[in-house]
Subunit: 333 residues, 2 copies
């Protein structure tokens, strides 16, 4: 069973995935493997994944785990956390640990192996955002979980191990450190100003209009004021809302439009750039929060000179977000 361990100084939780344990010789520095001919995420290979937990687009008269789908969500075959068991929280002297209980799922975003997320047609891309919502809703029923992390790794440099377009969900019994810091920071601001810091950011950015990459009637894409890397972007709903899970299909259609435009602008600037995106949303089963505002963060993975972290949470970034914004706006789509 994997294990969750807490750093006693920082409060940061780590998954120790013992089942994946390796000998030191497995860590020799190597290029990521290019994939062979077989893709477990392609249609007609459904039996090679664990049984799907959600499917869109397959007609009702076809059996589960067969072809004919538009999107599938399946448990990860090599999960970092396991769904069965008790948390069994324990101390080891001054340390805290618990069993690595959680869910680890893969969203297969298209049946077509060659599709890239950036260029999915609207009707296909929206299914991904619906799947995130519907899976979070379902996983939130499990009282053991506190949070569902939703993220995509695109490109080998950003950690993708399969070519076929996919993203991931990880349901956790604890809150990730970054979310705790965000919740704390935005609560401090709210106590002082009685306003949501994210709402204030959106208002200022629309007014200043120097870091606003694109917008529609429901969303804005910003190059944030203090970005970690060149071309970091945040996609935020204009209207205050703390929970992604509560978004309706109209909202997700507008999200799909701006996400697609944002990624196409990025790809036009730096063709094929690897990136990660991460959903930031409130903890499960929380009341709506006045101080928190759900959003996506997109962080391109560039060469080490491009966005450099010095091991102390301190980043150096050679590109001001105003330049990022200017380059992205200049693109003609």
């Amino acid at each position: 069973m994997p294990e969750l361990r807490k750093d006693p100084i920082l409060g940061r939780w780590i998954i120790i995935a013992k089942e994946r344990s390796k000998r030191p010789t497995d860590f020799v520095v190597e290029e990521p493997q290019t994939q062979g001919g077989f893709c477990p995420l392609c249609p007609d290979n459904e039996k090679t994944t664990p049984d799907e937990v959600l499917v869109y687009g397959r007609s009702a008269n076809r059996p589960p785990n067969t072809s004919g789908w538009k999107l599938r969500v399946v448990p990860n075959k090599y999960p970092a956390l396991v769904i069965e068991g008790e948390m069994d929280k324990q101390a080891e002297g001054l340390y805290d640990r618990m069993n690595g209980i959680g869910a680890h799922e893969v969203v297969i975003e298209s049946p077509h192996h060659e599709d890239r997320f950036t260029y999915l047609p609207h009707e296909q891309m929206i299914l991904t955002f619906r799947a995130f919502r519907d899976r979070i809703r379902d996983l939130s029923q499990d009282k053991r979980f506190s949070y569902v992390m939703v993220f995509k790794n695109y490109g080998k440099a950003a950690g993708a191990s399969l070519e076929h377009s996919h993203s991931q969900l990880v349901a956790l019994p604890i809150l990730p450190r970054m979310l705790v810091t965000e919740l704390d920071g935005s609560l401090s601001y709210f106590k002082y100003k009685d306003r949501c810091v994210f709402c204030d950011i959106i208002r200022q950015e629309i007014q200043q209009d120097i870091r606003l990459v694109c917008e529609n009637d429901q969303f804005v894409t910003l190059a944030p004021f203090a970005p970690r890397t060149p071309f970091e972007m945040w996609i935020m709903p204009r209207r205050h809302h703390s929970s992604y899970m509560d978004q309706d299909d109209t909202s997700l259609a507008a999200l799909t439009d701006i996400f697609s435009e944002t990624l196409r602008r990025l790809d036009a600037c730096i063709p094929g750039v690897p990136y990660n995106f991460v959903l930031h949303t409130q903890p499960l089963r929380s009341e709506p929060l006045q101080h928190y505002h759900w959003h996506f963060e997109i962080v391109p993975k560039l060469t080490s000179i491009a966005g450099f972290e010095w091991g102390t949470g301190f980043y150096i970034n050679p590109m001001p977000p105003e330049d990022t914004c200017r380059y992205l706006r200049e693109i003609e789509l």
Copy 2:
């Protein structure tokens, strides 16, 4: 002038190094350049670096910036922060920024281009630890600075852009986020227990003896309980002390011994592994802190499967620190 910007939600500071600014086409994904024949850090090329700010081993009758040295510290030729100017703290609406004032220095750890830090003889390696101390002492005189980050990137995958063995110092007008979190976390523990959490960790690790990699009369090397990556290690002084700057030569000799042993064990397990090490010490001009304990953290840079961060401050690590410790102890040096 570079600029420091603060994320208004997380409180994280970022350096925007505009002078290094690039066009999007500069970010095409590329292999790090292998170096040509010329090395600016080698003896007889002293004139190609900025003037040295510290030198050891050159006889007094030789002029500065000539050969005959054992260790040199020079300002970085392409500094992320600049030494001249005022901080000029400003608001931009709800955001905070200031001029990128600071010092960025390079410690050239040996005159020999082929030397690797791991295998430096004791008398040479100790000069690096003295240089860290002596430069922090000197930089602490400048009232504009709050902290000196000290770190080493070994290997291209860990961010080293020059082959010649070197480490870096960056004096900052603000505290890095990770240090603030560490100070806060250790202070909370101290308020509750009236003891230093690091002292408690050392006591427990010596007693349990399952994550203790090596030790001498003044220091221990631990595989920490909740490591971010396989083979992460912390080198900590047994006696409580919050400031690296106050260490005497006897202490630095013992540090050199354990550092050398630790790195040689690591290199024997995973030959040539890239790594970063970072000094964690108290802020400049602080009184001695009862709750904080200076130490070094060594984090190997392995393949993405080996230590994976999901963009939310949440790590998955396939190797328990007890295994790390066992592998490292098995090495016969």
